[in-house]
Symmetry: D3
Subunit: 150 residues, 6 copies
């Protein structure tokens, strides 16, 4: 049976830390679907369609990776795509406690769904989407933190 | 002297984790007042009056538990109700650090006020109000996470 | 029904942080039994019988507090003393995670046993028994950290 | 290519929390080798050979799981068994920080070695080997915490 | 070479905890520039210019301390003021993880910039700007938490 | 006045993470005294005198750094060397909580003594002395983790 994993997030923006998790996840999964959640009530800093294109550029030539957008429960999205795994990165203990809660609830909503964690490589662990937005807003150079050209 | 405790929170919504703390707190206190803080500037997802009714339904027949709403300092509310205790649940270390700060400030504002903590039972520790709101917003079934019918 | 709490620990030594928890716990419980666990395999720095006397001195005149030693499961000790509560202090997140585990196991072993937590007052939160032993071993003055004369 | 994972630990004793991780890991890996590290300098509470037999009993009939002992670097053991994955469970933030360090060092020593984490199910997260040893030593019943008969 | 440090923050409001860090930092630095970041998109609770005046009042007569406002990257501000240090206080582990990320990114943006941390004194560690705003909003007395008159 | 800092530890062994903190600390202090605590009751893995020589080799030519051994209270050692600062590295939240306690007690024992923290650079944050001992004991190559030849 094919091992299909969702890699869900808002990716506002997608970072080199996210890329690190996807690339390492490719050793575990036959297919990884990068899934950008969007929510009509929350506005993004980096536009959704542009970010999809950016991520597709970053994984150009990597057949096992695809990029989609969604606005439903992650547990439901997984069923639709026959994905039995969620892939998630952990950077620090704050991430851990949040992911712990989310993963228990996802397993409750879809008992076939296992969340698999990799720890973000140290050189990327300080790079969060929110810090990148902050740096970008004030005109700083963020190209070292993202795996594509803005 | 009667041991009266406030159980303060925004309860948007009240969860089975909250119920767990109240039920276990009944062994410690003669009276527990579930106190829904509301704030004219922050909008709720689950309407305040509806939530009061939901919680009352959950504790129907439990005389020692009552439900009120308030929009003042918790430390002041406690004085008004002759409550010398705040009852709080701890789910994880993030909760701990927040509650630590709040409890010191409450004791400073009202030196008769002791905050008493129980650790949320493991089966409920992953259930947060914010995750329930998220699941509910996307049409997921949240009935396993709350002790009343929505 | 009388509310009896055990306050278990190795208390090597008993600190002002421990005293803080007991004194504040007196508002919650009718009786607090300070229970020094001892273990024939682990050697203490401060002798057991001397420490019992020190703690008794610290609570001289406080009828609701007594001091005992034990070498059995805490959950069993509680049954023997008709104690339905364990009183514990939390200083920081490391304490929290340890106490979380212990309290779940104690509740499993004795389902009448509820662990009640107070957060140690900030001025005592840095005072651990192990730091006091270290300071004392090198001849430092520890009298500010303990509620009795050594 | 076969996906082979080591599940390393001292397992003194192997707990239901460990079993939970192995059973869930079977969906990810073709083969899981439970690897009991032993160290001539540290004495165990539960004898090594007895524990191997206990774990084998717990996984009797599960062909994809085997049990070995070792006394070398985990990163070396992995090479010997053509294992490209370490499987590890995370119970709380203390585990996270320890595992974070170990996994970085293991990847440094063997750059083919990826550590994959699952979060322990909440009902087992409070069960640690050290607490079980403590309960057992004082004659408490630990049968609910282990997946075999002692 | 003069040791110049920025002490950046939104200081909404500046607390006794902040004052504690600045006063202790004076032993390390020849000059400390308290730098109030402002952001046209985020509204403050305590007006910016009023807060600048309040902080100046708190450090009246302390020549080594000055107060400025800024709306640029902290790493850029540091260059402009020939500051090679950022001074930051740590209250708890949540602070630590946030500051860890920010400091790595700042060092990336300005490799001359070192972030130096002091741990907030325990008596002030529970005092956060957000709790003070909450207490003030409901009419509570916050004068014990701030080093100036509002 | 000269700014003299102690950098205390057991350094069993001194790691590249320790070196990182000392090198970055040189921008803050006029003199850093690397101080190896030894304790007749605890045995070391790497012999004390050999480690002193190793560290001296690592800082050969760096006049502002010296290396000593001591077996007294750190707070007392500081007085003897006219050091008003302790320099410490923080790697993660577990470090933070330990260092928080130690620094409060040190300030209590010597009110002139300020503990100054730098956060360990991410590439070294996973390298602990205990992991290096473990790797070395089993014959692994630790040369990438230490700034001298063993």
């Amino acid at each position: 049976m094919e091992r299909i994993a969702l890699f869900p997030g808002s990716f506002d923006p997608f970072t080199k830390g996210h890329e690190d998790i996807v690339l390492r996840g490719l050793k575990l999964f036959d297919k990884i679907i990068i899934s950008l959640g969007h929510n009509s009530n929350k506005s993004r800093y980096f536009p959704l369609e542009k970010m999809v294109a950016n991520i597709e550029e970053a994984f150009a030539g990597v057949d096992k990776v695809s990029v989609i957008t969604y606005s439903e429960l992650t547990a439901e999205l997984a069923k639709k795509h026959h994905a039995n795994y969620l892939l998630r990165g952990l950077r620090n203990t704050t991430d851990f406690e949040y992911e712990n809660s989310i993963s228990q609830v996802n397993r409750h909503l879809n008992d076939q769904l296992e969340t698999v964690f990799l720890i973000t490589s140290p050189e990327y662990a300080s790079v969060s989407s929110s810090i990148i937005r902050e740096v970008h807003k004030y005109g700083g150079d963020v190209s070292d933190f993202i795996p594509y050209k803005l």
